[in-house]
Subunit: 104 residues, 2 copies
């Protein structure tokens, strides 16, 4: 299991809408994440910079990356694209952070 | 249980030393954290900005804050103070992030 963290960026005017669309997320997206070995997935907001900080426990990077090949994920990215910094395929600009410390 | 995230800032030249001092941390500090209801504590580095992102599952904010009143924690803060942005009491400058989303 990999403890994964990454940052994304939401546009300041869209923070409430970003949060609203995550509570709840689409049931088919939640099912997809679980099928791809994603657990304990959390997103936090840095209100100073509007960076989003994601933390998730994933079975493998391969399964995590494979999410992007699914229709449900592509539809979700398209749905969210207006709210945040994205790449040309609508995926969020996401930068991995480096794991320095763990205590169980 | 509260899923807590916060950011701190390490000085760029001290990243390796910061990581070294956490692997392992002092056994008495680990014991103290567990006694104060801290679990699954992780620290990640944003290599672009030198912000550190902490994620921890804590029993309460009161127990978390009480850590700072202990001698072991004060000694740890003093030990680490040269490596990162700190307050006048040697505690790290730490800014809480807002929890937007959770999936189990």
């Amino acid at each position: 299991m990999i403890r994964k963290a990454f940052k994304m960026k939401v546009y300041p005017n869209n923070i409430e809408e970003y949060a609203r669309r995550h509570n709840p997320i689409w049931p088919e997206l939640e099912q997809l994440l679980k099928e791809h070995g994603v657990h304990n997935y959390n997103i936090f907001l840095d209100s100073e910079t509007h960076f989003l900080f994601g933390y998730a426990e994933v079975e493998s990077e391969e399964k995590w990356n494979a999410l992007g090949d699914t229709e449900v994920c592509k539809k979700w990215w398209k749905h969210m694209a207006g709210l945040m910094e994205t790449n040309t395929d609508d995926s969020p600009v996401s930068i991995d952070l480096k794991h320095l410390f763990h205590m169980s």
